[in-house]
């Protein structure tokens, strides 16, 4: 059930959506493991 809910959160109209990390530590760990740079977006939720 959780898997199905998570899939619904990341799929819209057949296109994938950006799945954001929310913690710097996790993002850096992923970046190092996947050899990818980090896109850091500071936003105002309004």
């Amino acid at each position: 059930m959780n898997l199905i809910l998570n899939m619904n959160l990341t799929v819209k109209g057949g296109s994938a959506m950006i799945t954001w990390e929310s913690e710097m530590t996790q993002a850096l760990e992923r970046g190092l493991a996947e050899k990818k740079p980090i896109l850091l977006d500071f936003f105002n939720p309004g």
Partner: protein, 149 residues
Amino acid sequence: MGAVTYPDEKVTDFVMQRMVPLQVQADKPLADEFKVKWTPTIVVLDYYGKEHHRTVGFFPPEEFIPSLLLGMGKAGFDADRFDDAIQLFDKLLAEYPKSGAAPEAIYLRGVSCYKSTHDAGPLKEAYEKLKAEYPQSEWTMRAQPYSLL
């Protein structure tokens, strides 16, 4: 960004395939660490957490991807990985030649070529390309001394 740029399919594919996306509210402590004063503020970091590129304000999809490519190229440039940087600048210039990021990419491509070969030719070529294609760009001004090489 959340209404227009991030839902764009090309942006989504680019970000998910080539970067680790991290989104943080501007009222969190991390925003103070990065001295964020306005949103959206977009920062490109290497995987050690070092900043290489920053923009403030809205970018539509056709400007956002080249801005990210520029940031990734600058990360390579800053780390002396000039071949990687040149590859990213070339991709930007081939796919988004009319973007706002293009003039800086031309400039940094020329510098990257010079630093990896010690041949001054690419610096002059960068200036000539900037002068011909982006005469009003600040990067044309910055490259102007290379006309004398």
